[in-house]
Structure formats: structure tokens, C-alpha cells
């Protein structure tokens, strides 16, 4: 089948960038979307043109490295599907597709369809963890976790950090990503001691990184390839609100020496 592609080409973060049109005649319905781009890139290399840069790694929908907009929808907008798991049988002969990188000022473009998502790492570094140095754990079955709590924690922990939620959000908010981590750890007994501190630190870092606020539109939930629910945002808002009320300045260090 034949596909017409309009692809955002931008040499580097300093470059302005523009859309370029490609006619791709060698598309097979069993190809994944990225394999379709691989074939196009091989053709570009043969012609001596710079191949299209896009991020990808596992191609199994779990590493979270791939992702771009297809016709204005993150990962193409199919349920529970990252772009590496999207197959060309979803499209028709002659379709015209517009590919653009994630659009958010907190995700600057690296080149073409690849963006820098280090802001997500810095949000996790601010508080998205349980503080448990290696070797300090008790026997695993000493911590009982009700099945329901474990299942809800797992639902939220399934987030792959791809950034589709930010790209789909009209405000470019990271509320779903942040809420997913806060919910994952907050559903577990192990996560309770740092629960409020975590919500404060992560959400403050989110603001520092330039992500805007959530206005409950729900595009993020609709687009999330891992089905993370809006509920996680409600949960993180609740934790944040409670934490803000309870926040006290750190206690003076006592007993030094």
C-alpha cells in the first residue's frame, strides 16, 4: 500500500524545523509503524538524504522510548498501543499522515521526532521512590499487602514514562505521569512514611520543569498506552492538599555530637 507522510524535520534543538512530504509506496500491512519508517529511512539513505531520527528501543511497548504524534494524536491514538506496537493494518492505502514530535516546552526537540524527556527523571529524583538503602529490608512476607492494594498499585505502576499524556494535554501537564507514581507507592504500606513528602516534592519539581497545571480535560487518560486512569490525579491532588496543610519546617537537628 501507499502512504503519504508529512514529517517534522528539525536538525537540532536550535534549528527552526519544517514539515517535509514523503511518498512511501512500499508499505505492507503487517509492518509496524516504526518498521515502515525503517524502510523509508533505507530509501532515504540510498538517495543520500538524511534519515528521519526517532526514538525507539524495545519495540515491545514497554521501554517507553518511542512516541510521536500521528495526525495530532499521541502514538496514533489507538487504545493501549504505543507507536512501536501499532501496525500498518490500521491504516488504508493512500492515507495521509502527519508526524510531529511531542509538543511541550518541558520536552525540547533533540532532532526530528526525538525529544528530551529528562524532566521526567528529575521529577522521580525529587521524590518518586521509597527510601530503602540496599540491605536494610526485612523478610518480604512480613509486609502484608492486601491483593486489592497490590493490584491498584500495579495498575498505576504500569506507566512507561513515554510522555504521551503530556503531549496529548492541551496544557502540557504532567499530572497523569506524576499521579501514577504517587498512586503506585501510595497504595502500598511500604510507601506510607514518605507519602506526603513525596507528593509535595514531586509536584513542586513538576512545576519547576515547566509543566502546566491539570484542568481535568482527560485527554491524557484517553491517550495513555498503559491505561492509567484519571483517578491517579485525584489521588495525588488529595495527597498534595493534605501534605500542604500538614507541612512543617524541618525539625532542628537534635543530639549532635
Amino acid at each position: 500500500m501507499k502512504i503519504i507522510l508529512h514529517i517534522w524535520r528539525q536538525k537540532s534543538s536550535q534549528d527552526k524545523g519544517r514539515m517535509v512530504r514523503y511518498e512511501h509506496r512500499d508499505v505492507n500491512e503487517h509492518m509496524s509503524f516504526l518498521e515502515m519508517l525503517d524502510v523509508l529511512n533505507e530509501q532515504l539513505i540510498t538517495k543520500g538524504e538524511d534519515p528521519i531520527a526517532f526514538d525507539h528501543d524495545c519495540r515491545e511497548g514497554i521501554c517507553g522510548m518511542c512516541g510521536f504524534m500521528i495526525n495530532g494524536k499521541a502514538h496514533g491514538g489507538f487504545p493501549r498501543t504505543t507507536v512501536c506496537q501499532l501496525h500498518m493494518r490500521r491504516f488504508k492505502d493512500g492515507d495521509e499522515l502527519y508526524l510531529e514530535p511531542w509538543r511541550a516546552s518541558a520536552f525540547p526537540v533533540v532532532k526530528d521526532l526525538a525529544v528530551n524527556r529528562s524532566s521526567f527523571d528529575r521529577i522521580i529524583a525529587a521524590g518518586g521512590f521509597i527510601s530503602v538503602p540496599t540491605g536494610s529490608a526485612q523478610d518480604a512476607n512480613n509486609i502484608l499487602v492486601p491483593k486489592q492494594g497490590a493490584d491498584l498499585a500495579m495498575d498505576a505502576a504500569a506507566c512507561i514514562g513515554c510522555g504521551a499524556c503530556v503531549a496529548a494535554c492541551p496544557n502540557a501537564a504532567a499530572a497523569l505521569f506524576v499521579g501514577a507514581k504517587i498512586s503506585h507507592l501510595g497504595h502500598l504500606p511500604q510507601g506510607q512514611p514518605e507519602r506526603h513528602r513525596r507528593a509535595l516534592s514531586m509536584i513542586r519539581q513538576m512545576n519547576v520543569e515547566g509543566f502546566a497545571n491539570c484542568s481535568n480535560i482527560g485527554e491524557c487518560e484517553a491517550t495513555c498506552p498503559k491505561d492509567i486512569k484519571l483517578e491517579v490525579i485525584a489521588r495525588s491532588n488529595r495527597d498534595f492538599l493534605k501534605a500542604s496543610c500538614l507541612e512543617r519546617p524541618a525539625a532542628e537537628v537534635a543530639g549532635v555530637g
Binding site: 509496524s32 525503517d38 538524511d50 528501543d57 517507553g64 540496599t134 491483593k147 497490590a150
Partner: protein
């Protein structure tokens, strides 16, 4: 070269504890004076970087992806083994040790494997404390499932995403240390050479993948946790970026490479669909708990599976291995699938596939239970193939999945270059000739959380480390080496793309050094790979420049290394004139077609030493002793 494994002598049960006590310590106040470079951020790398940061060392961690959370450990689906015996089914540290040594077909070091089995229990404790959401029973206790090669349920899991959850646990511990300033992270940064000063590993040369900047990073020790080399085969279940460049360039600086021909073929992958195929997707081994594998009894039977009655189906694993059935180890299941397809029983368009059928278990347990266990895998299968496995049996075929070989390390996980430590899949140490399911995650985390944190201290406390700076001659030499490779790749401006070479190499290695090997085939591969390599350096086309985000250039450097490593794999396979685990030499098999080991002549680790571009590598042997698990022919009947 003499290879000293440094495995402690005396009773194996106390060896690690005694060894830990004998290791020299670094005073807490002195730890921050040591710089440790960790390359790779998967289970082994992230857990090592986090644990060493917690101890107070200065750590720098490097990964080629845009975030440490992307490392390919994330794709492990099924689970992680631990000898907890929570299910009262007769498991113990000794049994896990026994299963792993036997599963590895008696080609692993007993001492290392015993320690791994001991540490397995600490890993689960650590991961639960970090908030890894393992599956639970209604009473709140941890749930387990069983895996190939074992008759107990010792596998802990988080749906079909166990690797993801364990990696996120390690990643979060790493990010915590980054936030605290103990670890400095370098994403989108690739290691391209090792800096060796006075025979010690003292640094690495990296290239920033964003702007091509080359830098020498100097440290007191270097840890490589860069994963395996399965992508030599081009089509594998590895991530597209997984590569051998870090270990290969360390090999060329003097680290010895062990058992390169020990590669693992995973029996349950989605079959290849066309020549544009970029990678293969695994369906977790855990599916073999409930799915039944079969082919039509009549060769060439093209009826749809639903129209083939039970009496005309051959459940060949259950028939040949009644006691383990569909849960035989991976190497055996893979070869059995190949045998069926070679004799014309294969299914699907290409006839390279067998059925993995869930009809019986859906009848027994109901669709709901099956979807709870494997829902995400079924969905992934349907997305890729367009077929619904609740209704039509899955088609599966073996694919390259893991490499047991890797850089040689001693009991302390140190390579033959002092100060160069190698962890996880990148080393060769624990799985012998075949890895059992759910053991890779265990090894990566044992190495990173619990072993390196002790053994590296001993090295730093005892080694004499001279002052080295980034403008040392060895560092400049290593940078010059990288510059010359890059110039050659960019300057050739030939006619063929990097991928076309990679595909061709992959096909050669798969055909001659894949699931079955023989002398004639390996000799053929050894003659065609050097020719292909020559052609690569004459006609490869890499566009663009070094000073930009250039994915073709990244790939070109990795493929150049695969073209050399592929040859070493074939050489090692040719030299090992026996069959063991994943290494099946057709000349050496029992009358029933099982692998025939030759313990008298080949009970050793084959370790290869680089001797320059025109000389062939030198082989050294580390003999293996089995004092606890007596080598027998593996039987899963």
C-alpha cells in the same frame, strides 16, 4: 593466560559469608574519595550505581538511552526466582543451586551459582521494600508461579511486567541517589573505549549522542553492566539499541571473553512475518504453565487448528518429556520445535511455527482467570499478528533471547583487567551453557545490589592507584582510537546501509551458529564473516557528521563490533566439540537426539584473549570442578 577464579575453598554453604569477612573494607570517610564509573543502567547497572552511591562512593553512571529507565531489563516479562520456599513445596537454596547448575548443563562455576541462590532471597526482600508491586494472594502474602526447568513454584512476578517493575525499583533507588548528589547520570552517552593505565582500568571514553562530543572520564574502577550481545543475530528479542560495543572494546583492551558461543534461543516468540522485520517479540515462558504445545501429526497439514481433532495432534513435549512436559528448559523446548518444523510439521504461512494452545486451560479455569494471568501478553500477541489467542492457538517459534557468554570474571566479578568489573548479562558467570527462566533478573540484581558493593571495596582498599587525569596519554590514545573509527565510518561513503550489513551478518550467524551447529557450517561462517567485514569497511554508507544526533553513526559503530564478535562466536562453537545446553553440535548427540556432553575434554570455561587485528585470539581454559552436583546427562523425561 592463567585464569584464577578465586572461588573460596571449604564448605560451599559458608563460602560467601567467609569471603565477605575476608574482604578489605574502605572506611566510610574515605569512600567519597573514590570515583566509580558505571556503564549501563539496567537491573545490574542501576542497582550497582544506587547501592554504591548509598555507601558513599562518588558514582558516575552512563546509558545510551534518553533515561536510565529504558534499559532492556524492562522487557523481561515472566518473573524472578527466589528460594523462599513460601509454598512449602520442598524448595531450598540448595535446590535452586542444583536446578541452576543442572539447567546450565554443568558448564557454570558451582561457587558462583550457590551464592546466587543464597542472594535470591535478599533480592525479593529488597524489591518488596522498594514498593515493587508483586502479585499477592488474598491474605496479602506473595504469590508464586512455576517456570521451566524446575518442579517447585519459586517465581515471583508482577503480572507480565516483572522486569519493568524490578527495573523501576532500581531506577527509583538510582534517581534518589542522583537527587542526593551521590550519582551523576549521563543519559544519551555511549561508551566507546576503555582507558587502561598501568594495567588497571582507569576510565572510559564516551560520545554524547546529542552533539558527538567525545570525553574521557577518569575513575578508580569501571563497572560494565551493558547487557548481552544477542543482537549479533539482527533478529532477536533484544531491544534495537542493545549492543556489545562496551564489552567488545574492553575485550580489545585486554579483558578476556568467555564462552561466546553460549547463546540462548527462547522457544516462545512470535514467528517472523516478512523481510522488513526489525525485531522479534517474546511471549513469556510463563505461558507454558497453562498453554499446551502441539503440531499436526501429519506433515504439511494445512487445516485450521480448530479442525484438527485431538487424535491428530502431537503434543510432542508432553510425549517426549512426560515428567516436565511443556515446562522443559528453554534449549530443549527450542530444539524440539526446530525438529518438528524441520520434519515438515510446522504451522502457519512460513511453516516455521508450532501451536501454543490455551483451549484446555480456558475450559478448566475460565477466560477470566487466564486473562488475569496473561491478559497483556494475549493483547500484545493480537496487536502484532491480528489473531485472537483466546480463540485461535498462538503460533510460536524460537528466537535468540539471551547470551550466557560474556566477559570473563572471577568470583569478585572482576575481569582480567584489574579494576574492570562486569555485571549481569555482560559477564559469563552463572548460567553455564543454558539459563533457566526467571534467573536473569535474579543474577542482574544479585550482582548489582549484593555482590559488587562488597567486592569493589576490597579492590579499592588494596589496589595501588596512581594519580590519573583526563589528559593522561592512555586517555588521549583511547580518544584518538575512537576518532579514527568514527572518521573511517563517516569517510567511506559507500553504497550499502548499515542495516543491510547487520541483516546479512545476522542470517549467517543464525544459519551456522544458531539452534544447531556443525563443523562444516561453522567453517563456512568463519570464511564468509571476514569477507563481509571487509566489504563493510569498503562500502558502508553512513551519512551526516559526528557533531550531531546521528543514529546511523551509532548503529555503524555497533555493527562494526558485531562483525568481529560474530566471528569469535563461531570460532568458539567450532572449538567446543561437544553439545551442551544452548550449544548443540549436530555431530554430538545421543540416539534420542539430546545434547551429548563430553565432560572429560570440555568441562571448562573457554576464555578468548585478543591479540590484535590480524592474529587469531588465544584460547585459555578455566577448568570446572563439580564437588556438589555430580554431572549427569540432563534428563527431563
Amino acid at each position: 593466560m592463567e585464569l584464577k577464579s578465586n572461588v573460596p575453598t571449604g564448605p560451599i554453604e559458608q563460602a560467601w559469608d567467609r569471603h565477605k569477612f575476608e574482604l578489605k573494607l574502605v572506611n566510610p570517610a574515605n569512600k567519597r574519595k573514590f570515583n566509580i564509573l558505571v556503564v549501563g543502567s539496567g537491573l545490574a547497572g542501576a542497582s550497582a550505581a544506587a547501592s554504591l552511591g548509598e555507601l558513599g562512593y562518588n558514582v558516575q553512571c552512563f546509558c545510551f538511552q534518553d533515561s536510565p529507565r529504558r534499559a532492556h531489563s524492562i522487557a523481561a516479562q515472566g518473573g524472578i526466582n527466589a528460594a523462599k520456599n513460601y509454598h512449602n513445596d520442598g524448595d531450598s537454596v540448595y535446590r535452586l543451586f542444583y536446578d541452576t547448575v543442572k539447567g546450565g548443563d554443568f558448564r557454570a562455576r558451582e561457587g558462583n551459582v550457590y551464592r546466587l541462590a543464597q542472594l535470591s532471597v535478599n533480592i525479593i526482600d529488597q524489591c518488596v521494600a522498594q514498593g515493587v508491586p508483586f502479585a499477592r494472594e488474598y491474605g496479602g502474602l506473595l504469590d508464586n508461579r512455576s517456570f521451566g526447568g524446575a518442579q517447585v513454584s519459586r517465581t515471583f512476578y508482577a503480572r507480565g511486567q516483572t522486569g519493568q517493575q524490578l527495573l523501576l525499583g532500581a531506577y527509583q533507588a538510582l534517581e534518589r541517589q542522583i537527587g542526593l548528589g551521590a550519582v551523576k547520570m549521563y543519559p544519551r552517552t555511549e561508551m566507546l573505549d576503555l582507558v587502561v593505565v598501568d594495567g588497571q582500568a582507569r576510565g572510559i571514553v564516551t560520545r554524547s549522542l546529542i552533539d558527538g562530543k567525545l570525553e574521557a572520564h577518569i575513575g578508580d574502577a569501571v563497572i560494565l553492566a551493558t547487557g548481552g550481545y544477542g543482537n549479533v543475530f539482527y533478529l532477536s528479542t533484544n531491544a534495537k539499541g542493545s549492543n556489545a560495543t562496551a564489552i567488545w572494546r574492553a575485550y580489545k583492551r585486554g579483558a578476556v571473553f568467555a564462552n561466546p558461543c553460549f547463546t540462548q534461543i527462547h522457544p516462545t516468540c512470535i514467528p517472523v512475518s516478512g523481510d522488513y522485520q526489525s525485531k522479534l517479540t517474546l511471549m513469556s515462558e510463563s505461558l507454558r504453565n497453562d498453554g499446551r504445545i502441539w503440531v499436526p501429526k501429519t506433515p504439511g497439514d494445512k487445516r485450521p487448528p480448530s479442525q484438527i481433532p485431538d487424535s491428530e495432534r502431537d503434543y510432542y513435549l508432553e510425549r517426549r518429556y512426560p515428567s516436565f512436559g511443556n515446562l522443559v528448559p528453554r534449549d530443549i523446548a527450542s530444539r524440539a520445535a526446530k525438529t518438528e518444523c524441520d520434519s515438515g510439521h510446522g504451522v502457519g504461512e512460513t511453516s516455521l511455527g508450532v501451536y501454543l494452545d490455551f483451549t484446555d486451560c480456558i475450559k478448566r479455569l475460565g477466560k477470566g482467570k487466564i486473562s488475569e494471568r496473561y491478559g497483556n501478553l494475549f493483547e500484545m500477541y493480537e496487536r502484532i499478528t491480528g489473531e485472537n489467542p483466546y480463540e485461535v492457538p498462538m503460533r510460536i517459534y524460537p528466537a535468540i533471547h539471551y547470551t550466557m557468554g560474556g566477559l570473563w570474571v572471577d568470583y569478585d566479578l572482576m575481569s582480567t583487567i584489574p579494576g574492570l568489573f562486569v555485571l549481569g548479562e555482560a559477564n559469563f558467570s552463572d548460567h553455564g551453557a543454558n539459563r533457566l527462566g526467571a534467573s536473569a533478573l535474579m543474577q542482574g540484581l544479585a550482582d548489582g545490589y549484593f555482590i559488587i558493593s562488597h567486592t569493589i571495596g576490597n579492590y579499592l582498599a588494596t589496589a595501588k592507584l596512581a594519580e590519573v587525569t583526563a589528559d593522561a596519554p592512555a586517555a588521549k590514545d583511547a580518544i584518538a582510537n575512537v576518532v579514527s573509527i568514527t572518521r573511517k565510518l563517516l569517510g567511506t561513503n559507500g553504497t550499502r546501509s548499515v542495516d543491510s550489513f547487520h541483516r546479512e551478518l545476522g542470517k549467517i550467524v543464525w544459519d551456522y551458529c544458531g539452534m544447531a551447529r556443525n563443523e562444516a557450517g561453522l567453517k563456512k561462517a568463519l570464511s564468509v564473516i571476514p569477507t563481509l567485514r571487509e566489504e563493510f569497511w569498503k562500502t558502508v554508507r553512513v551519512l551526516g557528521s559526528n557533531e550531531e544526533f546521528n543514529q546511523s553513526l551509532e548503529k555503524a559503530g555497533r555493527v562494526a563490533d558485531f562483525l568481529e564478535l560474530g566471528e569469535l562466536m563461531c570460532l568458539d562453537a567450532l572449538e567446543r566439540k561437544e553439545s551442551c545446553g544452548g550449544h548443540f553440535r549436530e555431530e554430538f548427540q545421543t540416539p534420542e537426539g539430546e545434547a551429548l556432553r563430553d565432560d572429560e575434554h570440555y568441562s571448562y570455561v573457554a576464555a578468548w584473549e585478543y591479540r590484535g587485528p590480524s592474529a587469531s585470539p588465544a584460547l585459555s581454559k578455566e577448568p570446572l570442578a563439580f564437588d556438589y552436583v555430580h554431572p549427569t546427562q540432563r534428563s527431563y523425561k
